[in-house]
Structures are given as C-alpha cells and as structure tokens.
C-alpha cells in the first residue's frame, strides 16, 4: 500500500468496504464506507417514486387501447422501488447494529488509486465530447490527444507533435475518408476550417 497516496486522499479508503480496511482507516473513510451503501438505494428509491410523474411532457392522446405507454415503465420503476427499499432496509438495519456493510465491494486489485488524476481525466473526456460538435472532430481530436499526452506524463516534443497530428489525420482518413462517417465538422468558422482541412487532405 502506498502510504503517501493514502495520506493525500483518504477518500480512496471507501472503495475497500472490507471490515479490516475500514477498521484500520480514519474517520472520514469509515463514514463514507457506511454512507454510500445507504445513499445509493435511497437515491434509487426516490428516483423510482418521483420519475413516474415526469414520464410525459405535453399533451397525451386520451383513451389509448391496451395497457398504454406508461404501463411498462411503471412496473419497472415499481420493482426498482421495491428492491431498493429492501436493500435500504438491510443497510439501515446494519447501521443501527453498527455492522459494516458488505453489500458493495469495490475492486481492490490496485494498490494505488489517484483520485485527483481520475477526476481530471474525466473532465478532459467530458470537455472533448462537449466541444466536439462546436469545434469539429479534427480540432477536438488533435487538441484532446495533445492535452491527454501531457496529462499522461509525456514530455517528449516529438511525441507531443506527432501523436496528435498523425493520429488525427489517420482517424480522419479512416472514418471520414474510408468509412464515410459524417463526423462533426463544427459550426461557423470551424465548419469552414474543417471543410478546408478535409479538402487539403484529399478526403473531400
């Protein structure tokens, strides 16, 4: 176990829901290990109870034949509610008895887990997907690969130049050139740039 990592981010501990780990760790991790197995079913229960009210927006056709479009989701959500409350009851009972929950067990095959790094990674992926329709695939892809390489700890300038450029060109050729996929070109000026780039590469 990497002690440094533990000290930096003790939230990591709640992934280990096994008794011995929890017992060995600080109060915050212990609280998380107790809270999460209660919070998850509680959230699902609330969702199952609330969602049926939001199933339809706008006008609905009256008197439809058969069971109607609401029947199946209602049954699914009802069952979800029932099972969530069973789970919640078990967890709350365990909490009262001050027993450690064993219902959720995270993978503990890794010794180190950098939570900060994981969150930055998720942020990068989301930024890529969110920017994609605005700036177009080519720019988003090259930019993402460059930042991702930096984030992954690569500092070799050759790598930082070649991977994004060649990677983007290869992907553009494979998916827009060969497979004829309509990947986003972006909007406005970015659209014009993408078209120019695609013409330059001989894809258009």
């Amino acid at each position: 176990m990497a002690m440094v990592e533990k000290a930096r981010d003790d939230r990591a501990s709640w992934r280990d829901a096994e008794p011995k780990h929890v017992a060995a760790q600080g109060g915050r991790g212990k609280a998380m290990a107790r809270l999460i197995p209660v919070a998850v079913p509680a959230m699902l229960l609330v969702a199952a109870l609330v969602l049926p009210a939001f199933m339809f927006t706008g006008d609905r056709r009256p008197d439809v034949p058969g069971l109607g479009p609401a029947a199946w989701p209602n049954v699914v959500l009802l069952l979800l509610g029932v099972f969530s409350s069973i789970w919640l009851a078990i967890e709350v009972w365990g909490l009262v008895k001050w027993r450690v929950s064993t219902s959720l067990s995270a993978p503990h095959d890794e010794d180190v887990y950098h939570y900060g790094k994981a969150l930055v990674g998720i942020g990068l992926v989301i930024a890529f997907g969110w920017l994609l329709p605005y700036v177009g695939f080519a720019i988003a892809c090259a930019g993402f690969l460059l930042i991702w390489c930096l984030y992954g700890g690569l500092r070799n300038p050759f790598v930082l130049v070649l991977v994004p450029t060649l990677g983007t060109i290869a992907l553009l050729w494979m998916f827009m050139g060969l497979a004829l996929m309509p990947l986003s070109r972006g909007v406005g000026i970015f659209d014009q740039f993408s078209v120019a780039l695609l013409q330059l590469l001989g894809i258009y």
Partner: protein, 498 residues
Amino acid sequence: MQTIDLLFAGFASAFQIGAFLTVVVGLLVGVIAGALPGISFVNAMAMALPFTYAMNVTHAMLFLGGIYVGGVFGGSISAIMINVPGTPASLPATWDGYAMTKKGQVKRALTIAVTASAVGGLASALMLTFLSAPFAKFAMKFSQPEFFAATVLGLVSVIAIAKDKPIITMISLLSGMAIGTVGVDPLYGQARFSFGIPEVESGIRFVVVMIGLFAIGEVVDLVATDRDLRPKKADGKMAGASFRDIWNVKGAIARGTGLGCMIGVIPGAGATPGAVIAYGVEKQINPRGKEFGTGVEAGLAAPEAAKNATTGAAMVPLLTLGIPGSAATAIMLAAMMLQGVNPGPLLFIMDPSMVYTIFAAMIIANVLMIGAGVGVAQMFSTLMRTPPAILAGFIVILSLIGAYGVRNNIFDVHVCLIFGVIGWAMKRVGFPSAPMVLGVILGPLAERYFLTAVANSRQDYTVFFTRPISATILFLALIFVLWSLWPSVRSRIKRQPA
C-alpha cells in the same frame, strides 16, 4: 444428397480467388473493427454497405458475412486484453477472460476464446447448411409470447450469474430496464422521459450505454492506477492453450454452441443474450462454477462459443424466410435488396448456387477465423507496447466515434459521456454494471414482446402460459432461478437455524 452436391459447388465458387479474397478481407475488417473499443460489428457492417454496391450479390454477402463472423469474435480481443468489450456480446469475456489476463495468461485466454468461437460458429454454419429448412419451420412456430419467454430467460440468467448478491443485481438490472424505457415507446409512438427535449425522444441505445460504462470508466482507471498494459517479459514466453486445454473445456464449448444455435434463431435476441445465457447456464452446470469470474477456462469458452453460434443461426430466418432478426442481418437484407435480390423461399429455388456459396463461405470464414483472430490479437499486443497514456487517449476517441456511429447522432456521444461518469462511480463503489447493460438490451425487447403478444391475443394475459413452447420456456426460467438461488438460500438457512 442434393445438398452435398450443391455445397460442393458452393465451395468451388467460394474458393475462386475473388470470392475467397472477399471473405478474407471481410473477416479481417470484422476482427479489427470488433476489437477496436467502441466500434461494433454492426457499425462495421453499416460502414461496409456502400462498398458492396460495386460487387455482385454473392460477393456482397460474402463480404458482409465475413465482417459479421469476424466482428462477433473480434470484440473479445479487447475484452480479454484491456477489459473493454469491443461489442456487447463480448461482455462475458471480460469476466473470466480478463481475469486470466491478470494472471498473465493472456495468450491462453485468447487461444481458448478464438477456438471456442470458431467451433461455435462452424457448428452453426453447418446447421445453417443442412438444417435451415426444418429450423425455419420450427422458428415459424415462435411468435411474440415465445420471444417474451426467451427474453425472460435472458433476464433470469443475469440474476443467476451474480447469485451471491441477488438484490443488488436485480437493482442494477431494473435500473437498466428503466433506462431502456427512455424515448419513443415501441407501440404507441409516445415519448417517455423526454422532459420536453426533442433529442431525448431518440431514446438510449444499449451500445452507447455499454461504451460509456465500460470503455470510459476503464480508461480513467487505466491512467489513475498507473497500470501498465505492456506485456511483461514472462507473458511472451507463456505458451498459448494446448490442445489439452481446449479438450478440457469441450463440454462448455458444446453447451455454449447448442444454446447459441437455439437463441440465434429468435429474432431480436442475437449474440449478447446468447452469450449471457450460456455463461449463466455454464456457471450452474460446471463443477468449477463457483470459481467463475476468477479466470476459469470454461467460463470463457461457453459464452464465446455461444455468441459465434448465433451468427449462422441468425441467418436462417434471413435466407429461408427473408426476415432479418437482428441489426446485422437487416444490413445483409439491405445489401441484397439494393441489388434487386429478395431473400426468401424462392431464393433457394431460383438461385441455389448463390445460397450454397454463402453457406460455404460461412463455413470457410469460421475456419479461417482462428488464423485471423490470432493474427489480429498479435497485432493488438504489439499496439499495447505504446505508452498507456497514448493508448488510453485513442480508446477514448474510438469509443466516442463508436457511440456517435451507432446513429450518427451527437446526442449519443453525450449519453455515452454521462454513462462514462456513472460507470466510473459505479466501479469505485462496487455497484455491478454488467446487469445494467443487459437490462438496457433486454428491457425494451421484453416490453414490446409482451405488449404485442397481449394485443395479438386480444388482451388475453394467459397467452404466455397457454401456448406450449412459451409455457415451457417460462417454466425453465423459473427452474433456473430456483436452481441458481438454492445454494445461497440453503447456506443462509444452515447459518441461522430458525
């Protein structure tokens, strides 16, 4: 003996250089596309469709057939190597296949997977050749109640797979089924849970959910754990599976093949439920069933055999009746119709040489798949030598392209990202994600089979129990639940004698 003569003629034309190359190219395209995270064989077949315009009908079918056979297997390469299923049907391959990789047995896992897939595929290609007529007749006895019963069997086997935590598995499965209800409903054409946003009316597709839950979450873990995917020196020396290893799992392969052949004929089901049901059944039957999930060969072989066994079986209704049962066979139908050929009973009478060339090609493709699979796996293990950061970056991009390519819709990319975050969080707290994906796949199927069956029997809800085949399947599903839950119930009774 007419069949044999026709088949020999079929082999003769399939071995002509042009036809043979078409199959090989299709197979390679399929395996590579399948192995790329995010790009599924359905994606690959849809992308390949314009290329078939220039071919004759037979070559078009050989090409698409090759992609289909190769792609259904290919998904398991990335499932075994990096724990990211290339297609939903390879989900079970992550359970025991990736566990074997973690033990340093990646070559063994790949060899077992490709052999089991080839055996399953070959058996179903032979079934397609020799038994398609009786099978088609049998398939016509199936209607909506039977499809619903089969879907229930699929849902039940999901619970059987994770029997130690039935409640949480149920919750995950039901969440997936709830996610599957988003969008326009299958019968009434009404938008559900759209919250007034037109894009949401498109609904949430299972492939997109799978890519989000598995690929994105896994990539983030890859960089956050300093995991090194580069093959260690020891792996290089590690031998692949010996003939003995394969022989040891012959039972699992046989059972998987049988189940796959049966399930493949059912429209709408296809490779994923086939693989999952086979895994569930094998876990019950196999003496080492309790160890499944820790890298047991049989736990990899059974679903692998089953998913490829669905390929030939799914083509039975297409070629004999002209009815496509899945997205993959619908694309094949489109390729034929675009060339002015209508599959169906008349095709066997009017152009038997074409039909038998397709049969022969399916057989050849499954045999060649062993070579193609090993070759591509080798190529991928070379790719794994690149630094994990670069590899992870490309997996992200391919995954989002794959999500986009499902319907060429940016909405699917956004859905994929949301499920990426959810999947990552689920993994960190240990909430199982596989049942959720299966819920998204099977939930919408169950809904429309149920509602259409009820409408077709004029609102008679007993139809599921009064039809013999449907009743039998539902009874089997019940037995299956009891059988799989019994050990945990028994141990609980023993522990707390009350």
